[in-house]
């Protein structure tokens, strides 16, 4: 998927403006404090207003720029697969444990990104998971989950 620089800038300035409006709305519900002691809502309010201002200027600048600006390529099939795999990994890591989840993650990533055969991807996944666990978990003592499903 590709969109022009101009369109991208317009979308991002719109998103930044929305964040600014959200922050201002939330900050209004926080104690604003007094002139002598500014409260927790003071800075978010100022930042929200500033972000709205800047994003409006950015948006106007993008709107007034030439329409045939360079196209920016966005996204990639493997990118989406890897992101989904990462989210699944976060959900499964503590339940299934580091070794099986990491084996699966590396297997899926290799299958998506490379042209390796299935069994080779699996072997690499297994090797990466065990190497990671051995080096970081056992040797360096980083606490890696062993999973709750197996107890």
């Amino acid at each position: 998927m590709g969109i022009t620089d101009r369109k991208g800038d317009l979308i991002i300035s719109g998103a930044l403006c929305a964040i600014g409006i959200f922050v201002v709305t939330k900050a209004r519900a926080m104690p604003y404090g007094e002139a002598t002691v500014p409260g927790p809502g003071f800075l978010p309010m100022i930042l929200g207003v500033l972000l709205i201002g800047i994003s409006v200027i950015l948006g106007i600048k993008a709107f007034l720029s030439k329409k045939n600006t360079a196209r920016v390529q966005l996204g990639h099939r493997s990118m989406v697969s890897i992101l989904v795999a990462l989210v699944l990994l976060a959900g499964l890591l503590e339940r299934a444990g580091f070794l099986p989840v990491m084996t699966l993650f590396v297997f899926l990533s290799l299958k998506t990104l490379s042209s390796l055969k299935v069994w080779k991807c699996f072997l690499w996944g297994l090797a990466a998971a065990f190497a990671g666990y051995g080096f970081f978990g056992l040797l360096l003592g980083i606490p890696l989950p062993s999973g709750t499903w197996w107890y």
């Binding site: 930044l16 926080m30 989210v87 990533s109």
Partner: protein
């Protein structure tokens, strides 16, 4: 003062020259070199990976190892630039211009050696600068209050916005976004929860490591997926590794000039390590008798920028250690590591924790020698990492990132946070929004807000407190000057554009 600095330095060497600290220093340097060679991780990601390991170490050993990764990455970054035409990290972009050309001309060996020597010269001179600048600056900063702190942070963020920024508006937007991120969590003065969305994990704020790894590491990998095609690696033979006498003669001056530029730029927040390389390259080209040869494999084009980017590492630690203001994202991680160990970087650090300050300086001398040894004869070994296709490398790098992020808090929500920031970073980087200002503002935001509110509490609401002390006045005058100069530059550019359009 020199004698007292040398005495302290001796104490620092006594800390470093223990077998364990030497091992941690070596591990840091080795890891840093490997990370620098691998495109896409960078010093921040490399340090974050080993951050959980440092929890079990004493603070001095932790900072010695993490700093080793930081400057080790700068050494390793040039290898990919020279052999692959792909910068291992942003500060090595300029090295591609002449380094890769030299490699194509069969002179990869001399380019790598001169780059390592330049890194050594720059790195060593900047440690000397750190050693002599930091303690007196700390003495001055001990006398400043919250008003001065706030003015200084405003100045730092303003410098980030205007120095080396390709689009000031986009950079300012990133700074505001970073400051907003810093407001997430419990307000330290009132205990009020802000923007936590009912999730208690956010009460202590958004964790730095998943945010930084997401914005820099994950986004970089996602961008690299788009051009995953195989890369041609030039492997230098050991016989051609030694530079000729003329190469060394031609590059010594460039190394020292590059070091001077890097030392000066290291104090600046933002992208100083990157800008210094461009300035050094431009200077070398300007003073060269044959400027037309630059870009076709001129050794000065490698020596100067490599020395400059390594020279920023030492002086970029001065603001972090003495002022508590990290000028680079990687130094922000060093600061986080110190805070995890209960040590707050700032003017008191030099007096209250001399073991850390002087231990770090001494370790940098030792580390630079280690890196020179690692990067000269072992360069062939590191080159082998580049032979691994990116399709195989990416899952391994992702595995390392997951372990690094999970290991800090043993919380899987941090992995999700990393993915979120990775996607945000990818989209923002695609449309040329800089990530460094966002990270720096997110790190400084907390402190900045506290200084501002404390100053107003002291002055009972009077904003004049920011103009009372001479230190604060100096910072604010600098702020006003930068704004005026930037305004003038914008106005002149605007007028030129209007005139061009009229023609």
């Amino acid at each position: 003062m020199i004698m007292s600095s040398l005495e302290h330095l001796l104490g620092g060497f006594l800390i470093v020259l223990t077998p364990l600290n030497l091992l941690y220093c070596f591990l840091g340097c080795l890891w840093g070199t490997i990370i620098g060679v691998l495109p896409g991780i960078g010093p921040l990601g490399g340090m974050a990976l080993l951050l959980p390991l440092t929890f079990k170490l004493d603070p001095a050993s932790s900072i010695i190892m993490l700093a080793g990764i930081f400057y080790g990455t700068m050494y390793g970054g040039s290898t990919t630039s020279i052999l692959l035409n792909i910068p291992g990290e942003a500060a090595s972009i300029v090295t591609c211009l002449d380094g890769y050309r030299m490699a194509r001309n069969g002179r990869a060996g001399p380019a790598l050696v001169v780059s390592a020597l330049g890194s050594f010269v720059g790195g060593t001179l900047s440690i000397i600068a750190l050693m002599f600048f930091a303690p007196p600056l700390a003495q001055v900063m001990l006398k400043v209050g919250p008003a001065e702190e706030f003015s200084l942070m405003i100045l730092a963020l303003l410098v980030v916005s205007f120095v080396g920024s390709s689009n000031v508006l986009k950079t300012v937007a990133m700074i505001i976004l970073g400051l907003m991120i810093a407001t997430v969590g419990m307000d330290p003065l009132t205990g009020h929860l802000r923007f936590t969305f009912g999730y208690l994990g956010f009460a202590s704020g958004i964790d730095f490591v998943p945010m930084a790894i997401g914005l820099f590491g994950i986004s970089e990998i996602l961008i690299n997926f788009e051009n995953i095609a195989s890369m041609e690696v030039i492997k230098p033979s050991f016989r051609t590794l030694l530079p000729r006498w003329e190469d060394l003669k031609a590059s010594w001056g460039s190394m020292f000039r590059g070091a001077g530029i890097g030392i000066l730029f290291g104090f600046l927040p933002g992208a100083s390590h990157i800008i210094s390389t461009f300035v050094s390259y431009a200077l070398e080209k300007k003073i060269s008798k044959h400027p037309e040869e630059f870009g076709s494999g001129k050794i000065e084009g490698v020596a100067g920028p490599e020395s400059a980017n390594n020279a920023t590492t030492g002086t970029s630690l001065v603001p972090m250690l003495v002022l508590g203001i990290p000028p680079l994202p990687a130094t922000a991680l060093l600061m986080s590591a110190l805070i995890i160990h209960g040590i707050t970087p700032g003017p008191q650090l030099v007096q209250e924790h001399p073991d850390i300050f002087w231990g770090l300086i001494a370790s940098m001398y030792v580390g630079n020698i280690m890196l020179l040894i690692l990067n000269l004869p072992l360069v062939g070994m590191f080159v082998n990492f580049l032979r691994i296709p990116y399709a195989y490398l990416a899952p391994s790098i992702l595995t390392l990132m997951i372990i690094g992020v999970y290991g800090v808090n043993t919380n899987t929500a941090d992995i999700l946070l990393m993915v979120f920031f990775g996607i945000a970073g990818y989209l923002l980087r695609k449309f040329r929004f800089d990530m460094a200002p966002l990270i720096l503002a997110a790190v400084l935001g907390d402190k900045m807000e506290m200084s501002f509110r404390r100053a107003l509490t002291i002055s009972e609401g009077s904003l004049l407190i920011f103009f009372k002390s001479s230190v604060s006045k100096i910072f604010l005058v600098a702020v006003i000057l930068i704004l005026i100069l930037q305004g003038m530059a914008w106005f002149m550019g605007f007028r030129r554009r209007m005139a061009e359009e009229a023609e």
